[in-house]
């Protein structure tokens, strides 16, 4: 059709025009600005308002941050320097407090060698943190890290307390042996005795080992071979390190509890189900601060007379219970997201309940739950600041203690800015990671 016309209609062009550059207003920076910032009167107005807001905030914050005093040993010294340099004391930060106390804000009272007769032990929490990254890497970046690293993951629950609290190495080692004994009996006994019996025997054997034998074995071994690190009291933990420690312990310990609670909640056994539901709903229904009140004021009341945990341990227990309830809900979400076919497939293979859970359901459900677990961790991690209300020296508690020093009484914004920056960096990177993971999981399922 076009062919016939081509012969008859002379003014139809038979060669293509060379492509022309688009108008300058549509491409490049100008075009981008027109499209993204000034595409209509409403957008233009919004852009102008936004620019105003940005200018207002930055013009207040930037001079405060950068026209500031670093070299000062007290607030009054800071003020003198400010008067000399800028004529007034307002609108300038006094970062001297951070310079003097950053170590305390990060590590609390963990021995830093500053007091005579003590040595610098700060390498231990740092090493524990590095090892934590190593232990998590095979789970978080399973596609890039060799699964041999899982050995470190399994050993980490024993390495971490040893590094943090110090003491003899035989304590954590004998505790680990308890798990090995239990596991061995369950594994080997399953064929000879049947699964259930071997499981009961394994658990009983491990408990007997832990409570009756292990203390003596550990004492004996440490008398013969006193290998260990200098002990550190949990009272000396503090600062940002305490927040990380509380968060990691709470999430780590609550993971298995959360799995059990989630399975219990979905169970057909009425009693088990309602016990789990009751626990989860109770913990999720009350604010963390009331649970911390329980830790600081009441936990001793509910334990046999004269048992005395130190407060950090009590807080760890309550934080673990708290996060277990949230963890249970996250894992329940993971279980619910699994297609029904997975359960049916497991049944059709003739697997029993625990085999199905262990081999088919849980690996997938946990994988789906990882973003949820990460955001629970971020939540718990932020909530650790509440321990300052019951008098523990986390970053916020330390900020108050630092202000009780005559030199720094009256310092306000600098400490909070520093603390906010610490939390932001850690939580932001974790939430980015969790988003990356979510995207990865999403493509895997479509």
């Amino acid at each position: 059709m076009s062919g016939t016309h081509a012969h008859t209609v002379a003014f139809v062009r038979d060669t293509m025009l060379p492509e022309q550059a688009p108008p300058a207003s549509e491409v490049g920076p100008v075009g981008w600005v027109r499209h993204n910032l000034f595409s209509g009167w409403l957008n233009s107005a919004l852009t102008l308002v936004s620019l105003g807001v940005i200018y207002y905030v930055l013009s207040g914050v930037l001079p405060w941050v950068f026209q500031s005093v670093w070299n000062a040993d007290s607030l009054s010294e800071c003020r003198e320097i400010m008067r000399e340099s800028w004529g007034d004391t307002h609108g300038h930060a006094c970062w001297g407090v951070i310079k003097e106390r950053w170590n305390q804000l990060l590590f609390g009272f963990y021995p830093s060698g500053a007091i005579e007769g003590t040595s610098d032990l700060r390498w231990r929490p740092i090493l524990a943190l590095v090892l934590l990254m190593g232990a998590l890497s095979p789970i978080l970046f399973s596609d890039r890290v060799s699964s041999k690293m899982l050995i470190l993951t399994a050993a980490y629950p024993f390495i971490m307390p040893f590094l943090m609290w110090g003491g003899t190495i035989w304590g954590p080692l004998t505790a680990a042996i308890g798990f090995v004994i239990g596991f061995f009996i369950i594994k080997k006994g399953a064929l000879a005795l049947g699964e259930l019996v071997s499981m009961i025997i394994g658990v009983v054997a491990a408990v007997v080992w832990w409570f009756l034998l292990a203390p003596y074995v550990a004492d004996g071994l440490s008398a013969i071979l006193p290998i260990g690190l200098e002990p550190v009291q949990s009272r000396q933990f503090g600062g940002f390190m305490l927040a990380i420690l509380l968060g990691v312990v709470a999430i780590g310990v609550s993971l298995p509890i959360g799995v059990v609670l989630a399975l219990g909640r979905q169970s057909d056994l009425i009693v088990v189900k309602y016990l789990c539901v009751g626990f989860i709903e109770f913990i999720r229904g009350v604010p963390l601060i009331t649970l911390l009140f329980v830790a600081s004021l009441l936990l001793n009341v509910f334990l046999p007379p004269n048992t005395n945990f130190d407060i950090i341990l009590r807080v760890m227990i309550m934080m673990t219970l708290f996060s277990a309830a949230y963890m249970a809900e996250v894992i329940r979400g993971g279980l619910a997201a699994l297609p029904r076919g997975q359960y049916e497939g497991a049944d059709s293979l003739g697997l029993n309940y625990w085999q199905a859970q262990r081999l088919i359901i849980m690996p997938q459900a946990l994988k789906i739950s990882i973003p949820g677990i990460v955001s629970t961790f971020i939540g718990i991690f932020k909530d650790t600041t509440l321990v300052s209300i019951i008098g523990l020296f986390d970053v916020i508690g330390l900020a108050s203690a630092i202000r009780a020093d005559t030199a720094w009484n009256g310092v306000y914004w600098e400490l909070f800015a520093f603390i906010a920056a610490l939390f932001f960096v850690v939580c932001f990177s974790m939430s980015r990671y969790s988003m990356y993971l979510e995207r990865k999981l999403q493509t895997g399922h479509r």
């Binding site: 993204n36 595409s39 957008n43 852009t47 019996v197 088990v272 604010p287 601060i289 009140f293 209300i389």
Partner: protein
């Protein structure tokens, strides 16, 4: 004789409790129940022994003693001569106030921010992202403390207003004063619960206004229904908006006139403003901090909810000839809400629980009264913490109940 015809009964052995699936679940449940009861008995027993040693047996008599401290922000009358129970009750009301105000503000801010994050304006979308990330990644306790300081620093001292005409709304660094509704020919109050610590005054004026409003709305609805039925029958819709407006406005206006309704403004007297409705800075800061913090989470939920509706839905609605606002109301919103509402309500729950951090700014909620000064003063930790937990549990469970009811209502009806 009949035993012969029955199939031979399997003899019950003890091991069947473990190995026979018919009995195993019962065994597990009995063991679980027994274990739970044992644990509970152990804890309670320990508590009884310990409390007896301390000489503090569980008793709630302290609630009737004189509290002795003052509460600044309060809904009902209270003096420091009232009982601890009264103080706790006012604290509870304060908790509910901040929870309700916070949820409303958080929803509004959250929806606006969530929509703006999807804006085609690059700058606005980025600013909203910065806001969301900043608030989500810093502990709420820090935000509360910081915003309290910012609110105080950025508002003027009352003496600034000296000699000036202050107008209806006064913003000072002690709080904001709004006009208060006054009735010169008031009908008085109903005093509920007599003189007890739960006494509660309800204004008859308010009841009258609510009744008249309710009746007006009912009448307006009736008029509209009648118009609908006429339209169905004849195809013509009578114009009713003016009668409906009149039905809505005239009775309430007449009532307000009869009651002598006027607004009371705050006036500077001595150190502070007097009169008006005084919202303390502690309330404002807590309200702002909790709603900004929660709104950051709500914004993400709203964004996810909007993104979850596939474009095909909107296009299909357009193909059916629905106008854009009908598309929004009938197609997009119902589906988006199904995604948005459950996490939204769990954020309401979080906001309510986070309101317990009010002690950081001195807002006297239930944690500040019952779990704070009362507990400090009487030394009744067990009783106070127990009551505190029960109160929060009751609030949380009521919110959860609403959530479950809603989830049932909007659940996809699958066949």
């Amino acid at each position: 004789m009949s035993t012969l015809t029955d199939p031979p009964k399997e003899q019950f052995r003890l091991s069947m409790l473990l190995y026979d699936t018919r009995y195993r679940s019962a065994t597990i449940q009995v063991v679980a129940m027994f274990g739970f009861m044992l644990l509970a008995a152990w804890l309670i027993n320990n508590a009884i022994i310990n409390l007896n040693t301390l000489g503090k047996p569980v008793a709630f008599g302290f609630l009737g003693e004189t509290a002795g401290y003052d509460i600044n922000q309060r809904l009902l009358d209270y003096s420091n001569q009232d009982s601890h129970m009264r103080a706790a009750f006012l604290g509870l009301l304060n908790t509910l106030v901040i929870a309700v105000l916070g949820c409303i503000a958080a929803t509004i801010i959250g929806v606006v921010v969530g929509v703006l994050r999807l804006s085609s304006n690059w700058l606005v979308a980025r600013i909203m992202t910065v806001y969301v990330e900043m608030f989500r990644n810093v502990p709420v306790l820090l935000w509360i403390v910081l915003i309290f300081a910012i609110v105080t620093e950025s508002t003027p001292h009352p003496k600034v207003y000296k000699g000036l005409d202050t107008g209806a709304v006064v913003v000072t660094n002690r709080g904001t004063y709004l006009p208060e509704p006054l009735f010169s020919r008031s009908l008085g109050d109903i005093h509920l619960f007599g003189n007890s610590s739960l006494r509660f005054d309800v204004s008859i004026d308010l009841i009258a206004i609510l009744i008249v409003l309710g009746l007006s709305i009912f009448a307006a609805m009736k008029i509209r229904q009648r118009a609908d039925s006429i339209q169905e029958a004849t195809g013509d819709r009578p114009r009713t908006w003016h009668t409906r407006a009149a039905v809505l406005i005239l009775p309430i206006a007449a009532l307000l006139l009869a009651l002598g309704f006027h607004l009371g403004y705050a006036e500077l007297k001595g150190f502070n403003f007097k009169g008006g409705t005084h919202l303390r800075n502690s309330l404002l800061a807590l309200w702002l901090a909790l709603s900004l913090y929660t709104a950051a989470f709500i914004a993400e939920i709203v964004r996810a909810g909007i993104l979850a509706i596939s474009k095909g839905q909107t296009e299909a609605a357009a193909a059916l000839g629905l106008r854009p606002n009908k598309t929004m109301n009938l197609v997009v919103l119902p589906q988006a809400l199904r995604v948005i509402i459950p996490p939204l309500i769990s954020n309401y729950l979080n906001l309510t629980k986070n309101s317990s951090l009010a002690i950081a700014v001195g807002y006297m909620d239930i944690t500040g009264t019952l779990g704070g000064i009362t507990m400090n003063q009487t030394g009744r930790e067990l009783e106070c913490v127990l009551m505190l937990m029960l109160v929060y549990l009751a609030i949380s469970l009521s919110i959860s109940a609403v959530m479950n009811w809603y989830n049932e209502a909007v659940k996809l009806k699958e066949r």
